[in-house]
Symmetry: C2
Subunit: 246 residues, 2 copies
């Protein structure tokens, strides 16, 4: 919740012509899309950042973003940025929030729409061409350029919430994964430790995993069974109702 300003109460609506005039002239604003790209590697949640090359933010890291083109759908812009930066095509992408403070950007008025993306680091690894583009452990992300810290915090928090209610997490894992991988993922995202036995029971009872009858290879310990996410099973059993609880 935010606090309100005082304004005059008005009565009438505007004509199409008035609106067209406004739309075409004085009231236009630059719109950008910022992508918060999460990855999961070595049991850690990562985020992709790029070095800011603006003097004001010299040395600081920032999110991947670009301006929206006037003839481009908003979602399409988010995909364009992802494709440009990661080379990846079919990725999980979700709009999170729009940030529109007047002075948030040094280049002028830029309202930005934040998108959260989850990608599989294994698939992506070979596509980081730019030296100024790096994966960062989310635990060490602070002091980003612009208002990107706030944007990042918002997205991480939303990820933490959504990953508990929807099967998003699998986008960060390889197709085949062990239950240990899955638990590591949840522990990394939520930044908590969980009971291994209850964690397994929970996922088995949700009935959204398929046992692949394969074992892990080349692990320095007893290999675990491999599973895949079963979207059909999930769709059938998924929760309709949460229940009041706050």
């Amino acid at each position: 919740m935010i606090t309100a300003n005082k304004t005059q109460q008005v009565k009438s609506t505007k004509t199409l012509q008035t609106i067209q005039t406004e739309v075409q002239t004085s009231n236009r604003i630059a719109l950008s899309v910022d992508c918060i790209i999460f990855g999961f590697d070595e049991a850690k949640l990562k985020v992709m950042l790029i070095r800011s090359d603006l003097k004001k933010y010299a040395g600081k890291w920032s999110l991947l973003g670009d301006l929206l083109f006037p003839d481009e759908d908003l979602d399409a812009a988010a995909y364009r940025i992802l494709k440009q930066r990661t080379g990846l095509n079919d990725v999980y992408l979700e709009q999170v929030n729009t940030f529109g403070s007047v002075n948030r950007h040094p280049a002028g008025r830029v309202v930005t729409v934040a998108y959260c993306s989850l990608i599989n680091v294994q698939h992506h690894k070979l596509n980081i061409l730019d030296n100024e583009l790096h994966w960062h452990d989310v635990k060490n992300v602070n002091d980003l350029a612009f208002d990107h810290q706030k944007i990042f915090d918002t997205c991480l928090h939303q990820l933490q919430k959504r990953v508990q209610e929807h099967p998003l997490g699998f986008n960060l894992l390889p197709k085949k994964f062990s239950l240990r991988d899955l638990q590591n993922l949840y522990e990394a995202i939520l930044d908590i430790k969980m009971d291994r036995r209850n964690f397994r029971k929970k996922f088995f009872s949700m009935d959204c995993l398929t046992d692949l009858n394969e074992m892990e290879q080349d692990v320095p310990h007893r290999p675990g069974k491999l599973y895949k996410f079963n979207f059909e099973k999930y769709e059938k059993k998924k929760k309709k109702w949460i229940g009041i609880d706050f």
Copy 2:
């Protein structure tokens, strides 16, 4: 999740000058704010709509919206619209989603940010001056102008979800309310029937209500006790963790 387009992978970032040029010239777009104002009256969830005066949408209802000014914070614009239309100052307001399809508005490219607002109809009643501004039962809302039906559906769905996890609902009730009022509210928002006894137990166990030791007045049945929402209690007891469940 949406599907991706193909684009070239790029390596470099832009300079401040490049960005300034882009921000100041060709890439600007009209931005609007649309407010989905919910109210609760006669045990029904209502939404405030205004008659569209565009020929293309003659006779259709639409959400309350206006263009964002270049020197105006995004949140401030939402408050301005609310204040203009309802006369209300301190209202619950939350950004929901941004809609940015290229052809969503007949007047040209307009990206719109949707805000959900919850107001107390009792406080507001005297401020509807405009005849073309009306409360509508949400169950009868269909075929809105522009893409407003989609925006409305998104907001209603988000309200249904958030009202179960956070104490938003109280914004729709008077300061003093009975448990029957509260249950009617939840049943109206969620469009379900609930068990009266379990509903009461739930709210008592959440420990966020204060018994005012007052009774309802002028009701055509045995009066119920009146309560108010206790924000301090809520803050102390509120949930930190949801638990994985989908």
